[in-house]
């Protein structure tokens, strides 16, 4: 006899809706209100897809905040600081260099520099915490990382606004070139790490994950100072599409997750060789984190690649052209598909998969950077 709820009407699970606090509802209200306000202000300038993206993004962020509580505070902080920053411009781009708050805090360039500095500081701090086993320093490191994420997002928001100040037809979401997506990558990787930090109650891995973010920051600084890549460039015709708003972030969640997995893989390999073993979490935890992060990365990368194909069908006349970027995306995808098969189906664990995750990062980096540097094709939006 199969038991049914009718015979035994008793429910021990608490549903998501019932578990929400007043703050959750306030958060949702602010987001819903904000998106409606934005719609009223700018709805006339949006096409149907962009309107859809606006409301779905709001809904997605409400869900994200309910699911991962610190996200609510992050989002509200970014919103308040960005709006304050934007209010300081008075519609003049030049004020980014003149007004106190913009020049030293919230002007896009300054905020991004703050983000860079804070990420590097957090890396050093996490390492100090790891080596001295200082719980307090580790908590401070988390706080610094959170601040870096806030400043990075504020920087992107004000940059978005600045692009419209240059000229309304130049204005666009700041995820259109290599410089901007590197900022996005740093932020997303840090956010995913912070999520797992809370989830696993473990701050030791920050030392490793922040290393890859610092590397990205290093690249960003070189790109800024040597190549002046921070200058806002107008969009080439091929990029003027709503697809960019969904394709690029999905891709970078994928890249960020793969980077996170690789750094956990490094920690795993070191621990298995007896280096830092007592300071790092148990191998089971590392293994689990590596799997979870590759899983989410794979899921989002799959979506991103499909979205990319749909965009390509609209811009280039074919959903798949075997363009080097597309092909390398496929290679990355195949690589992690193989990884997941080994792990899930074969039940494989241990150093081999950790090595594979680390090598996977190199494949990913090549797909994301190397293709632009060495191979030519349709996708060369970010040449060095």
């Amino acid at each position: 006899m199969e038991l049914t709820e009718k015979t035994l009407d008793y429910n021990a699970r608490t549903s998501l809706l019932k578990s929400l606090s007043w703050f959750d509802w306030l958060y949702a209200l602010v987001l819903a209100g904000g998106s409606i306000y934005a719609f009223q202000l700018y709805g006339n300038y949006m096409d149907a897809y962009e309107k859809g993206i606006l409301f779905l993004a709001a809904a997605g962020m409400i869900w994200q905040g309910w699911f991962w509580k610190p996200f609510r505070v992050l989002l509200l902080a970014v919103a308040i600081l960005s709006l304050f920053g934007i209010s300081q411009y008075h519609g003049q781009l030049a004020r980014a260099e003149q007004t106190f708050f913009l020049k030293f805090f919230f002007g896009s360039q300054t905020a991004i520099m703050w983000m860079s500095a804070l990420f590097v500081l957090a890396t050093a701090s996490y390492w100090f915490a790891l080596l001295t086993r200082s719980g307090f320093t580790a908590r401070v490191s988390s706080a610094i990382t959170w601040s870096a994420v806030v400043m990075g997002l504020v920087g992107l928001m004000t940059r978005w606004y600045e692009s419209y100040l240059i000229s309304p037809d130049v204005g666009h979401i700041p995820i259109s070139n290599l410089y901007e997506v590197f900022i996005l990558f740093s932020i997303l990787t840090a956010m995913m790490y912070l999520y797992y930090e809370l989830r696993y109650q473990n701050r030791q891995l920050g030392a490793f994950v922040l290393l890859v973010i610092s590397a990205a920051v290093g690249f960003l600084l070189w790109y800024t100072f040597d190549r002046q890549a921070h200058e806002i460039q107008p969009l080439v015709p091929a990029l003027q599409s709503y697809w960019m708003k969904i394709h690029v972030p999905a891709n970078f969640i994928g890249y960020g997750a793969f980077a996170l997995a690789a750094m956990v893989g490094v920690a795993y390999l070191l621990a298995s060789k007896g280096i830092l073993t007592t300071r790092l979490p148990a191998p089971e935890l590392l293994d689990d984190l590596m799997y979870k992060s590759i899983a989410i990365g794979f899921a989002l990368f799959t979506i991103a690649t499909i979205l990319g194909a749909m965009w390509a069908a609209e811009a280039w006349g074919g959903y798949w052209s075997w363009d080097p970027k597309e092909t390398w995306a496929l290679i990355v995808w195949l690589n992690y598909a193989a990884w997941l098969h080994l792990r899930l189906v074969k039940g494989l664990r241990g150093p081999l998969l950790a090595w594979w995750a680390v090598i996977g990062l190199f494949v990913t980096v090549f797909a994301f950077l190397g293709v632009n540097m060495f191979l030519s094709g349709l996708h060369s939006y970010g040449t060095l």
Binding site: M1, E2, L3, L8, Y10, A12, R13, S167, D169, N177, L178, Y179, R227, Q228, E231, Q233, P234, L235, V236, P237, A238, L239, S241, E284, D288, I296, F298, A299, T302, I303, I306, A309, M310, A313, E314, A315, W316, G317, G318, Y319, W320, W322, T327, L330, I331, L334, N335, A337, A338, H341, V345, K346, G347, V371, S376, G377, S380, Y381, G382, T383
Partner: protein
């Protein structure tokens, strides 16, 4: 790609070969190998540029390797038979894997495994046993409630012989649907892709029904064997249409040739537009097109642009590129080595040839390109010496600019090749408008011998009226040996002004001036250097060279006075004139390496653009999208629905409850859940 818990078939050594093959093809090992091989094979096509014109490959690799690579299909890896074979194996392997595992999966999904025995439960890695004094009824009720509350579906077994009651529960069965969805998706996507691929075309080629056209002939002369009918299911090709013209075919490039695809409609291009941002980067590319259906005579007018194609009866029309559609050019031709200083008129059009005769020789002028704008960077470097990158590249690329920039639009330019009777060609790049360097204005003309070289520029100085005419008059006088005695006399008079000199000395000065002018007129500075090297002792070469140069410059000034007096113009002696004369001298010397007897100065143009359209019909697209949706759904099912089973064996006779749990994916969450159940059960089983 079978799951771990599939039990190995017994007697594997006794299977027949077909069964062995089936085992291999549907095995995990084989699947992983295929994924790896596919990834590696894909790399080849990203490293080697695909579908380039064959001569490029020959130049790059040489004849031997070119042929080897061609045999291996490396110029179009993704459509080569070996690549398609790998894909076919992937489809086969995945299909077999689905075929092999689906029944098992469905059984697993439905089953509660309520027949598990006590012994088998005790063999589980995750199990615990509790003692309890509660009656069996209370126990089953409480435990059942607990499991349902935890999101399990549960089945209560009938009491066994010993009075034992088994509650079997499961959760997350849809996890296994995820497996089915993802693997079916891969097959669906590959099949959709194959429909849009060129397999039918390849087959027709192999059978000899279709033949690739490799000759560069007018479209209507292409034979039926190289044409595809409008009924063709799937195609992707392009066509370039000049403004005001139309087309009813597209060209599909294959290997070293092409096929002509007939369309069911005519496309007319009314206008093509490029808009620019203030910084010069292109902002939009738009074509106003009209389609006229051949069958229904229906006509559709629409503006298409990048990211905004037009779809008509399943055929999508995209803005793909643009070019020149035969801009009409009016030029002034300046003979560079003749004594005449008047230009001749010349007409031409881009992508067309014009004959030109000069002296006894005939040349062909091939006009290759016209550009309305040239945005040059004048910062720091000597701008204009580097040829501008083609605007066309902005179609696909963004650009990151260097720090120092001083971008200026220097106006239109055009490009042409001058080919002599032997077929030797040199390429020229001329700006229409003068460009300023250090306060002086010049007309620039670039020359190169080969397409991979940068242009080297000659600068024609402008006269006080901002025309090139002054330079041309001076050049005519300077290169005309008949006038050299006159120049020399003029110079000698000027140089020896007011001095009582020996007539013999004066004659000597005139003679050497004539000689210097003659040598210069025969080959510029280089000829003078050669002469000095040959006839002057090494120790004195420098000194002599200095003297010669002085004489040359001063006598050029005389030549300028003569040239001006011929048209009744006075010469103002000042910095400007001196600068002009020095520049002119340099330019005249450069003419000897200019390589063409004429300089074509653009006077007027009438721009005609052409739009590059890409047309596709891809019936597989929606199949691929459908497969993609399945894939995403399946991936989420697989990752985020965890399958768990719980058994609770109530043994009233012993007063114990045996708890066992299993999952097909052991993760930390599962361990945590196991521990949570254990602590909950302790509480539940208390009085």
């Amino acid at each position: 790609m079978p799951f771990l818990n599939i039990v190995n078939h017994p007697n594997s050594s006794h299977r027949n070969p077909a069964q062995n093959l089936y085992e291999l093809l549907s095995s995990m090992r084989f699947a992983i190998s295929l994924l790896t091989v596919l990834a590696i094979a894909s790399i080849i096509g990203t490293v080697l540029k695909q579908n380039e014109p064959y001569p490029n490959y020959i130049m790059q690799f040489g004849q031997f390797w070119f042929q080897t690579f061609e045999m291996l299909g490396l110029y179009d890896v993704y459509h080569s038979s070996w690549f398609l074979t790998i894909l076919a194996f992937l489809i086969l392997s995945t299909s077999l894997c689905i075929y092999r595992n689906t029944p098992l999966m469905l059984r697993e999904m439905r089953s509660f495994r309520e027949h598990a025995t006590e012994n088998s439960l005790r063999a589980f890695s995750h199990q615990a046993e509790y003692t309890t004094s509660l009656p069996a009824d209370t126990l089953t009720h409480r435990l059942g409630k607990y499991l349902l509350g935890q999101g399990f579906r549960a089945k209560l077994g009938a009491p066994g012989e010993s009075g034992d009651i088994l509650i079997a529960a499961k959760s997350g069965s849809y996890h296994r649907i995820g497996y089915l969805l993802t693997h079916t998706a891969i097959v669906v996507i590959c099949l959709g892709g194959l429909i849009d691929g060129n397999i039918p075309l390849k087959a027709q080629q192999l059978l000899g029904w279709k033949k690739i056209e490799t000759r560069d002939i007018p479209e209507r002369e292409v034979s039926a064997a190289s044409r595809l009918s409008p009924a063709n299911l799937s195609f992707r090709g392009g066509v370039t249409i000049p403004e005001g013209a139309g087309a009813d075919v597209i060209f599909i490039n294959i290997a070293d040739g092409y096929l002509v695809q007939d369309l069911p409609f005519d496309i007319m291009l009314k206008k093509f537009r490029v808009e620019h941002y203030p910084t010069g980067q292109p902002k939009s590319f738009e074509s106003d097109i009209t389609l006229i259906d051949k069958a229904t005579k229906e006509s559709v007018s629409r503006t298409i642009s990048v990211n905004h194609p037009l779809v008509y009866k399943g055929i999508a029309i995209y803005q793909a590129s643009f070019g020149d559609g035969g801009t009409r050019l009016s030029m002034k031709g300046w003979n560079l080595f003749s004594p005449t200083d008047q230009p001749f008129d010349m007409k031409g059009a881009v992508k067309q040839d014009t004959k030109l005769s000069n002296g006894g020789a005939t040349y062909t002028v091939e006009f290759t390109e016209f550009r309305k704008f040239n945005i040059e960077n004048f910062a720091g470097e000597d701008g204009g010496t580097s040829a501008m990158d083609n605007l066309n590249k902005f179609f696909q690329t963004g650009s990151t600019k260097r720090a120092q920039k001083d971008l200026r639009n220097v106006g239109p330019s055009f490009q042409y090749k001058i080919r002599d009777a032997q077929g030797q060609a040199r390429e020229y790049f001329n700006y229409m408008l003068p460009i300023q360097f250090e306060d002086r204005w010049y007309l620039l003309s670039g020359m190169r011998m080969a397409p991979n070289e940068p242009f080297r520029y000659i600068r024609f100085p402008l006269d006080r009226q901002s025309n090139i005419d002054g330079f041309m008059r001076l050049r005519a006088v300077l290169l005309d040996k008949q006038t050299h005695p006159e120049i020399a006399r003029h110079f000698a008079e000027f140089a020896l002004q007011g001095e009582k000199t020996d007539p013999a000395l004066r004659a000597k000065l005139v003679d050497s001036t004539i000689r210097i002018l003659d040598v210069f007129a025969s080959g510029g500075y280089e000829a003078m250097a050669k002469l000095i090297e040959k006839s002057v002792p090494a120790a004195e070469q420098d000194k002599v060279a200095q003297t010669y140069l002085k004489i040359l410059e001063s006598s050029t000034l005389s030549a300028w006075r003569i040239a001006q007096s011929r048209i009744g113009q006075p010469v103002v002696m000042d910095e400007i004139t001196q600068g002009f004369v020095r520049d002119s001298l340099n330019s005249v010397s450069d003419l000897f390496s200019y390589g063409a007897p004429v300089y074509l100065q653009l006077a007027e143009f009438d721009e005609v653009m052409a739009s590059g359209l890409q047309l596709t019909r891809s019936p597989g697209k929606n199949i691929v999208y459908g497969g993609s949706a399945l894939l995403v759904l399946g991936v989420f099912f697989m990752f985020y629905i965890r399958e768990r089973r719980v058994w609770l064996l109530v043994q009233p006779r012993l007063g114990t409850v045996l708890f066992a749990t299993s999952t097909n994916r052991k993760t930390m969450d599962f361990e945590q859940e196991f521990n949570r159940h254990k602590t909950h059960l302790i509480v539940l089983l208390k009085e």
